[in-house]
Structure formats: C-alpha cells, structure tokens
Symmetry: C2
Subunit: 333 residues, 2 copies
Amino acid sequence: MSRIAVDVMGGDYAPGAPVAGALLASRETRSELILVGDAKRIGKELDKAENTPDNVSIEPASEWVDMDESPVTALREKKDASILVGMRAVKSGLADAVVTAGNTGAATVASKTVLHTLGGADRPAIAVRILNPTGSTVLLDVGANVDCKPRHLLQFAIMGGVYARVILGVRAPRVGLLSVGTEDSKGNEVTKAAYKLLSEREEPLNFIGNVEGGDLFSGNVEVVVCDGFTGNIVLKSGEALAASFETLLRTEFSSDVFSAAGSLLTRRALRRFKSKIDYSEHGAAPLLGVKGVVLICHGHSSPIAIKNAVFAAERSLSRNLNDHIVTALEDML
Amino acid sequence: MSRIAVDVMGGDYAPGAPVAGALLASRETRSELILVGDAKRIGKELDKAENTPDNVSIEPASEWVDMDESPVTALREKKDASILVGMRAVKSGLADAVVTAGNTGAATVASKTVLHTLGGADRPAIAVRILNPTGSTVLLDVGANVDCKPRHLLQFAIMGGVYARVILGVRAPRVGLLSVGTEDSKGNEVTKAAYKLLSEREEPLNFIGNVEGGDLFSGNVEVVVCDGFTGNIVLKSGEALAASFETLLRTEFSSDVFSAAGSLLTRRALRRFKSKIDYSEHGAAPLLGVKGVVLICHGHSSPIAIKNAVFAAERSLSRNLNDHIVTALEDML
C-alpha cells in the first residue's frame, strides 16, 4: 500500500480532471490518494462524486504554478505552491510519490530542490514511452536538461535501461544514443564524447551505438538517450505531426463521396491510432533520478491518464525502481 | 537557359532514377542537362529511352560515393567521384547548378571544398520545406552542421528568410528559432545567444522569437532555424512517424469488415497524404550559402523528384537567389 500525492492544481483541466482521476484510481487500489491543492475547490470537485472513498484525503496548498509561468520565478515566489507541497510531503515521509499534470519545468525544479537527485545522478531526466508496432521505446531526456554533458547522457542511459528492465519488463533493453547517423563517428561534440563513455560500459548496459530519428518508431531499440533540448523538440514535433495527420485524415474522409462508411472507419482507426501514439493515455512520464517517485502527466491529461499515472507510481514503488537505479549507477559509473 | 549537372551516380536507385529524371526534365525545359557519372552505365540507361534529346550530354566520372560511406574519407580517396566532378563543372563555369540524390554529407563537403561558401556565410545549410495545411515551413539546417555557434544560426535565419521570399514568394516570411518554449528565456546556451543576435536585427528579417517543435506543422511560421543535429533528428523522426502512420492505417483498414470501401478510401487518402508530407515529391533541399546552386534530393528519389529538383535549380538561377543572399548577409551582419 502506497501513499500517492496528486497535485490537483496542475494541468489544463485542473482541478477537475486530476481530482476525477484520483477518484477513479482510489476505487481500484488500496493506496492512499492525497489530493494536494486548494481545499475549497477540491471539496467542490469531490461533492460532484457520489461519495469520497476512505483512501482519499486532502493536503491543502494555497498557491499553484500556472502552465505558462517561469518555473524558477514561480517557485521562488509561491512557497505554498501545490507542486512544492507535494514534494515536501514525499520529503517528510507523508507520501511516497507525486503525480502532476502541471508545469513540467516546475515539477522538475521542485523535485531537484526539495527531493534532490539520487546518488550518482547529477541530473534527473524525464522519460517518455513511444509506442511502436512491436513494443515501445523509452526516450529520455525530453526536457529536464537543455544543456547536457557527456556524463549526463551516460547516466540517462543507465537510468533508462533500468526503467525498461524493471518497469517495462524488457530483459536486456537495447540502449541507443540519438544522433545523425549510425556510424561511430557521427554526432555532435557532446554525443561523440558520450558515445565513447557508453562504449566503455559492459553488461548489464546493452549499448548498441548511435541511432537515428527514425529508429524511435522502428522497434529496434528500447531506450534512446538524448539531451533534453533535442528530446523535447522531437517529442513536440511528433505530437504535432500526429495531430496534423488526424486533421488531414478527417478532412480527406469527410470530403469523400463514401463519407458515411469512411467516417466510421476513420473514427475507429483514429481512435486506435491515438491510443497507440498518445503517451498521455499510457500514464505519465517518470522523472528519473530523484529521491522519490515523480510522475509527470501531459498538461491535457484526462482522468484516465491521471489514474494510469497513479498506477505507474505504484509500480515504481512496489518494484523499488530507485534502489535499482542507485545500484546500477554505483556499478557502472 | 541554364546548365544543370545531375550527379546520376547518387541515390538508392542510381543511375536509373536520376537519368530518367533528367530525361523527363529535358523534355520540359530548354536548359542543358549534364549527366555526371559512369559513361557506360549512363549510355545503357539512355538506350532505354526512345531517343536522347539534344539538351542532354554526359560528363564522365569514374568514381562515386556510396550512400553509407564516410564523406570526408571517400572524397579524399575518390578524386574523380561524380559529386566532385559536378561541383568542378560549376566551379569552372561549365555548369550553373548541381542536382544530386547521393550521400548528403558528401554533397555538403564537396560543395564547401570545391565551390566554397558565399561571402558572409561561414557555413552552408540544408533547407527542407515542410508542408502544412496553409502553406509550408522551411526548416534549416537539417544536417550540414552538427555543432553550430550562435552566429551560424543568425546566418541560417537570414538565408532561410531570403529563400522563402525569393523562391517561395512569401512577402515577409516569419522567422522562428527552434527551442523548447516560446518565452525569450527558453533554450540551450547556443539558442539563447542566437536569440539575442536575432532580436537585434530589424527588417527585412522578420524574427518572431522562439518556436517549438509543434510549430513546424502549424503554419504560423515560414522559416525555422536550428542546428543541423536537431534538424536532422526532427526530420528523420518525422519521416519515420509518417511512414509508421501509413503502415498503421493500412493495417487498420485492411483488417476491417468494410475492407473494400475502406481500402479505396484509404488508398486515396494516403496518396494525398503522402504527397503533402513527402518532401522528396516537392523537389529537393537546397544547400544554401555556397557559391553555386546545389540541390540535394532524398536518397530514394523517383525520376519525378529529380525532375522537380532540376526545375528548382532553374528557379534558384533565374531568380538570382545567391545574389539576394549575399546582399542580405552584407546588410544584416
């Protein structure tokens, strides 16, 4: 049984969607759900439900960080921000994990400043799962660190490998370094130096060398490592491209003479397509490398996405993900 | 009337597709098409056609760079490589432009070493057009320079802006800097410094600030600037995502009970979809910033893509693209 703090003030549909998601989760788990945020507004949301399960409680926070606020400034000024209150709950032992759909930068900064990084990890990294026809590929970092040194990429590789093994159940996850060509010599200054560091590591790190942008969707690599600048841009461009496919297909089919049959087929295909590519549906992105379990959901997460994030947090806790990460970093650095 | 050298030894379907493409072009233009490569093999390809138009000639080259060869090593060893012979033809005044579907790195290195960069341009940049619902966005650099300094990004912005104006006919193209957030403060060390340089420029550079990965497909910016590492990864991941989308749709629809109607609709939608996103269909990517006109086609270019690249080269020549670039660099640096 775990205690999961849900920052219900974060996200585009806060506090409605996060509260609803926590309630959904609370009915399927014996874990304790701690709703962090404006007590009055949370109360109103809870009133909408038939009853509040016993395993749901409120931890008041009078402030919150908006989606477009500068993380550092906001956290400096808002000492009672919900994301900080959630992190402090973990720090003090009141909670075991934090789930948030709020400002990603604020979640990262709050994690670093309140929880600190795990021994051996200089920086935390945000990892997302990209689904492909045969399974999934974990991409990290997608935004916690815009400027990385080679040793950070090495640490991300180790943490990503552990995550794929412990959480996703891949026996010997192949780890690739995102670059502009598969040859050893390809890359920028940082990745070329990181390549060297990674090549020197032996098992259990299964480093397969450089991979390209296209490999993210190929199923031939389980973990792909990059700096947070590149990762963020790849992720956002991919999301936008997928959304533009959807729009384009809707237009194509609705303009078609077979519109009735077409739209039925399209709706079905699009739904399955979305469920395959939309990482928000598959729970949240873990922030790896901090002393605590932190799951970051997409800003427009639905209640189901929040529920899945709660279960992802439980999995990280029950499988002692962080202990495995610390051991791996100790062994391989 | 221009003289366009086509490196027919480059690309996945060389020399068949490039020769066929040059022949297609030769029947629609009065420009001279100079086929650069193995004379015997070119002769065989020409024999397949009914007749060889008068405006097609052969410039022999006994060697060529394969798609997976290291550009620098290959060009050092193969002095008679077709891409070098093509560049020398431009340098000596025998040709005005080079079109190639070969090794991109080799085309870039050969351009730099034989033709040299334009005054004011420290580095050339490869620019691709990404189509979106309302027009297109030019992304540069997508692979010529993996490590960039802020001043290089400034130069790319100026060259990209001129390209959009002179070739694509956009009156005051909006230029954005690819980053991880739209706020001024977002970015890595290089983009933050580049942001400052770009902000100091006035008209005709219409700098709109940072843009994100998602903006590449939004239609709200006409030119997006980034280093070649990021650009290459975004481009390749986008191509792969589009391809996986296609596969997924084919699977969805073929498994459907309405398979007959579905597949008809799908084929039509996919065809239109592909023609919208596949940049190889829309001619080639210009290498901006070199003394000469160089068009780089996708490795698996069809004859039609090669033909379109020839016309793109003609357009760059007839509109004096390089003169405009030199003037703009002089005015704004």
